[in-house]
């Protein structure tokens, strides 16, 4: 059996002379861009561009409308109640920093003033963006950074999590889907555990959004973050969803134009709502691209996307597990995973061959994979390995890409070990 992507033709990069044989297996780093998204950005930039929220003329008013409608579109995509819960920023990294410095830091300061201890809980699976801000805050305010262990299948150890949460926990920050392991966490259960103890939760959805799996109300998180470019949109655009009651109490993370109700040389008052956290000029072209990406995916049907990606993910796992030299970071018991959402990425090693050498040899066959620690060095240390190869799937991949990956791995194994 062989399946061919029905959507590959939507991605112009595959029809250019530059990359005629491109086998792109790095969608966990960034997804390629469909023509619909590129066209929307081009059209906006050429025919509709102005500064939003500031100009007293029709063109600017139209752009303001574009941004505010985008908030509603993203809110609907995430299952949020209102566009007023959506803050636009540059991506997952900035969104996590925003929560750290606008929401959590004041809690740590307050606890320190009251001479109360604090801790921050994260999981061992976090990439650097959901580790470093918490690490710095913990160091700065003498808080304990607690790390939840993982189970052998790579998911978060719920019992360990339960034991780490207490009245001194200021925030729980976890990934919805690790960029190295690829399995979906039961974030609803995780957030419920924290919520029962009145602990705020931040969920990093960077890897989860491309499967349409998000419903922030059902998850029950306080904050949810993701990047547009992991959703077939442009880079430089991300989203922070938050419970609306938090925004009023949060101080702006960055300061500048467009976020104030009044300013004197000595004092400033800030406006309410998401604009308080969006100083300067919006990256409207990127926001337009994000909206187009959501429309594109909605039009394809999430049911069809998930069905297709599950087939592909199963074939990927099955093909790799047949290789005698394949050493997965986390081994999936495949039959048990039929009928559930399979990870669209896998991290592994080739016995006896360094990951960089494998990636270089694959590159010479026009196969793009990631090799290294994938900005998750502590997670690799957790599994006692320095680096892995990561193959991750997107809408444009099909069985032939996986066959080429396997052939490339055979070639690398043979070249380096024969």
């Amino acid at each position: 059996m062989s399946i061919i992507s029905p959507w590959k033709q939507d991605f112009p990069i595959f029809s250019t002379r530059a990359y005629p044989r491109l086998c792109y297996l790095d969608s966990a780093a960034t997804c390629l861009t469909p023509k619909h998204v590129a066209d929307a950005i081009y059209h906006y930039q050429c025919y509709a561009h102005a500064n939003s929220h500031k100009g007293l003329y029709q063109l600017s008013a139209n752009v303001t409308e574009i941004v505010e409608q985008a908030r509603e579109k993203v809110a609907h995509f995430l299952g949020a109640n209102s566009g007023q819960q959506i803050i636009f920023n540059s991506g997952t990294t900035e969104a996590l920093n925003l929560v750290a410095y606008s929401f959590v830091e004041p809690l740590l300061i307050k606890a320190q003033q009251q001479e109360t201890a604090s801790n921050i809980v994260i999981s061992a699976a976090e990439h650097h963006a959901n580790l470093l801000p918490w690490q710095r805050l913990a160091q700065q305010y003498q808080a304990e950074l607690r790390v939840v262990d993982l189970m052998p299948d790579g998911t978060l150890n719920i019992e360990h999590l339960r034991s780490l949460l207490d009245s001194e926990t200021r925030v729980l920050a976890v990934t919805h889907c690790s960029n190295v392991i690829g399995q979906y966490e039961d974030v609803q259960q995780i957030c419920q555990l924290a919520s029962d103890k009145k602990i705020a939760t931040v969920v990093d959805g960077a890897q989860a959004v491309a499967r349409g799996a998000v419903d922030v109300n059902a998850i029950g998180c306080d904050f949810y973050v993701f990047s547009a470019h992991k959703l077939y949109g442009p880079t430089g655009c991300g989203v922070l969803y938050g419970k609306v009651e938090h925004f009023d109490n949060m101080r702006p993370y960055q300061l500048g134009g467009g976020i104030i109700s009044s300013v004197s040389y000595q004092q400033s008052e800030f406006i309410a709502g998401p604009l308080k956290f969006e100083p300067g000029s919006h990256n409207v072209a990127a926001i337009v691209g994000l909206v187009e990406a959501i429309d594109y995916l909605n039009d394809l049907s999430w049911h069809d996307i998930n069905h297709y990606l599950n087939d592909l993910a199963f074939y990927l796992q099955q093909s790799l597990q047949e290789l005698k030299y394949f050493k997965p970071l986390v081994k999936l018991p495949l039959p048990e995973y039929k009928g559930v959402t399979l990870p669209t990425l896998t991290s592994f090693q080739i016995k006896g061959v360094h990951c960089h050498d494998v990636a270089s040899i694959l590159d010479s066959e026009d196969i793009a994979v990631r090799a290294g620690h994938h900005c998750a060095q502590p997670l690799h240390q957790f599994f006692a390995v320095n680096s892995t190869i990561r193959a991750s799937l997107g809408l444009y991949n099909d069985y032939s890409d996986i066959d080429r990956l396997v052939a490339g791995l055979d070639q690398a194994h043979q070249l380096m070990l024969s």
């Binding site: 250019t16 002379r17 530059a18 990359y19 061959v353 360094h354 990951c355 960089h356 050498d357 270089s360 040899i361 590159d363 010479s364 026009d366 090799a371 290294g372 620690h373 060095q377 690799h380 320095n386 680096s387 070249l415 380096m416």
Partner: protein, 160 residues
């Protein structure tokens, strides 16, 4: 297609059957000189590639401003390992100042894509192929930048 895109593509691709992993390079990778060799260490330094987490340690036994022995340790890719092997093979018995000059010349050549000449071409030709693969330069350079730390330590000591 823009010229820059075409150039980026042709730079790194279709270079024949993995010219990066030519026989001489693979020979050093498979039988590395100085790898995990026990020597009487007088100076040592650690190097790390933050982009990928590769680590290397260079040990040196120095005597009367000469390098008596060199050894290396660590988990690294074939390019880094072969580069370290060549370093250990060709810098043994060199005066410290000469070794530092060779190291800096090699790093400059790789960094600026300058062809190796003279003794450099004779000893380090396999490393020259790395110039065609910009993303792998850092792998080849790691042992040499680590060696610099070792040698500079000795020079600093001699100035005291």
């Amino acid at each position: 297609m823009g010229n820059q895109v075409q150039q980026a593509y042709t730079n790194g691709h279709n270079q024949g059957q993995h010219s990066l992993y030519q026989q001489a390079m693979l020979a050093h990778h498979k039988s590395p000189v100085g790898f995990e060799q026990e020597i009487n260490v007088s100076h040592s330094a650690d190097g790390v590639n933050p982009a990928c987490g590769d680590e290397i340690r260079i040990d040196a036994e120095l005597c009367d401003d000469h390098i008596s022995h060199l050894a290396f340790f660590g988990d690294s890719c074939a390019i880094c390992r072969a580069s370290a092997s060549m370093l250990c093979q060709f810098l043994r018995n060199q005066p410290v100042a000469q070794a530092l000059a060779i190291s800096q010349q090699l790093q400059l050549s790789l960094d600026k894509n300058l062809a190796f000449t003279g003794q450099m071409a004779e000893h380090f030709a396999p490393l020259g192929a790395v110039a065609k693969f910009p993303v792998r330069k850092q792998c080849a350079l790691l042992p040499w930048s680590t060696l610099d730390k070792v040698l500079k330590k000795t020079l600093n000591e001699s100035e005291v």
